[in-house]
């Protein structure tokens, strides 16, 4: 009971309370600022150990997949190969061992093995994933901007104005309407108005609600009422 419930709750209470108290004091209040900076450092240390736990879990799970030749085992083999090769280059590079000198670029500009993997394998793969976003935005927009009802039609009109107002060709296209508000830059100005006023007001509403929700959740966690992160449900 003590290790599973009381100790974690006591630690949570202190770890939650110290940063709140520290917020109201200046750097001169070392009695609270020092433990607060300890907490920030501890987070990094604990995350480091937890990452090791994660790597062990990745190896265990994927070795099991390969052993059992379960569906997608070839992906597991690719993942483990990447993990070990990159890890090998990284560890020996950081130790300046043999040909693996360093983990960044060499003085002559050529990449070390670790930097090569990072530059020519990892970064392009990341960029590929991020680039897919353009296609997904298009397909999501196509679905969202159908004029099914009044609200969807308003959304569609607002979206067209904002999209056109943010690209140079939009001004040219809408230039055929002349100067309806006595303003040559009426389209970019209208776009800015939509983004700042109706869109900004809606966003602020969500942000205020979310901020209060986060504060309420924090209070529940600090007071030990919310315990789901410990796997426990009852607050009593």
């Amino acid at each position: 009971m003590f290790l599973k419930l009381r100790l974690p709750l006591a630690l949570t209470f202190l770890a939650g309370l110290i940063p709140i108290v520290a917020f109201f004091f200046t750097e001169k209040a070392t009695w609270i600022r020092t433990p607060n900076s300890w907490l920030e450092q501890d987070m990094v240390i604990i995350a480091g150990f937890a990452l090791l736990l994660g790597v062990v879990n990745v190896i265990q799970g994927n070795v099991r997949k390969i052993e059992q030749r379960s569906s997608g085992w070839i992906y597991a083999a690719t993942l483990l190969t990447g993990l070990f090769v990159t890890g090998f280059f990284g560890i020996f590079g950081a130790m300046n061992f043999g040909p693996f000198q360093g983990i960044a670029l060499r003085p002559d500009g050529t990449p070390t093995p670790f930097a090569w993997v990072s530059l020519y394998v990892f970064t392009p793969l990341q960029a590929t994933m991020f680039s897919l976003l353009a296609f997904y935005v298009a397909s999501a927009a196509f679905r969202a901007f159908r004029a099914r009802n009044t609200e969807a039609t308003i959304l569609l009109i607002a979206a067209v104005i904002v999209m056109m107002g943010r690209i140079p060709i939009g001004e040219s296209i809408f230039g055929v309407f002349g100067r309806p508000f006595g303003n040559e830059r009426w389209l970019p100005d209208l776009t800015e108005w939509i983004m700042q006023i109706p869109n900004g007001a809606a966003q602020r509403g969500i942000i205020i609600g979310a901020a209060l929700g986060a504060a309420s959740l924090s209070l529940r966690v600090i007071l030990g009422i919310e315990r789901s992160y410990l796997g426990l449900e009852r607050s009593e």
């Binding site: 709140i20 917020f23 109201f24 200046t26 001169k28 209040a29 987070m43 604990i46 995350a47 937890a50 990452l51 090791l52 736990l53 994660g54 790597v55 879990n57 990745v58 799970g61 099991r64 569906s71 997608g72 992906y75 793969l125 990341q126 994933m129 991020f130 897919l132 976003l133 997904y136 935005v137 397909s139 999501a140 927009a141 679905r143 969202a144 966003q203 969500i206 942000i207 205020i208 609600g209 979310a210 209060l212 929700g213 986060a214 504060a215 309420s216 959740l217 924090s218 209070l219 529940r220 007071l223 009422i225 919310e226 789901s228 992160y229 410990l230 796997g231 449900e233 009852r234 607050s235």
Partner: protein
Amino acid sequence: MEPTTQFDPTRVNVLVLFSFFSAVVLFYIWKARQGGELFIRRIAGLNAIDEAVGRATELGKKVLFVPGIQSLDENQTIAALAVLQHVARTTARFGTELDVPNKDPLTFAAARETVREAYLQEGRPDLYNDRIVHYVTYDQFAYTAAVSGMMVREKPAANFLVGCFYAESLLLAETGQASGAIQIAGTAEVAQLPFFVCACDYTLIGEELYAAGAYLSREPAMLGSIKGQDVTKAVVGLAIVVSTLATTFFGWDAITRAFRIQ
């Protein structure tokens, strides 16, 4: 000007608001524990959890739960774990397969504990195994690629995207949408909400995500804190309206200045 005391006088306004907020929340927690009636509005996304898990059960497919990409120091992750607890209890009750891939190692450890306890509480420890909650990678897009791959290859019947998301939100939600899964999303990241609204069947917007734990558990103390939060929101809303009118018509901006944080 550099403060000369240990206490930071520029943050008195925050202290006053924090004290007021805490007092209101604690009052409603106390009131709820005394047996007071509390009305909490219906949240469609949370009511749909059982429906989504039920659909996966009928189809004989798995349920995928993505608890965001942030660590436990992010409140959205804590809220996501509360939803995960409920989802895990439901999958344990229905005997449905659950899959929880993780990006953050601390979230991974907490999620594993949450799911294990949920299966124990439902009296189904036989259905639990360590493969349910697993670690993937610490890199944002590598994680996105791995989870998208799971959605495409394994075609889960229900996807839960609950927690803190950034650029990967649409990549995950659209992939899930294309795979035909019922999707329930929840985040407080304002920039990601439109993507979830477009691509998911239900979306928990901002405060709904934070209220999820209380709403699902129905514990009076938790519900009391939601009520306290709502009362504070009403007070803040009133202050905004009064301040706007006072500033617009009389040039009196004392309330605006009182809320300003230095």
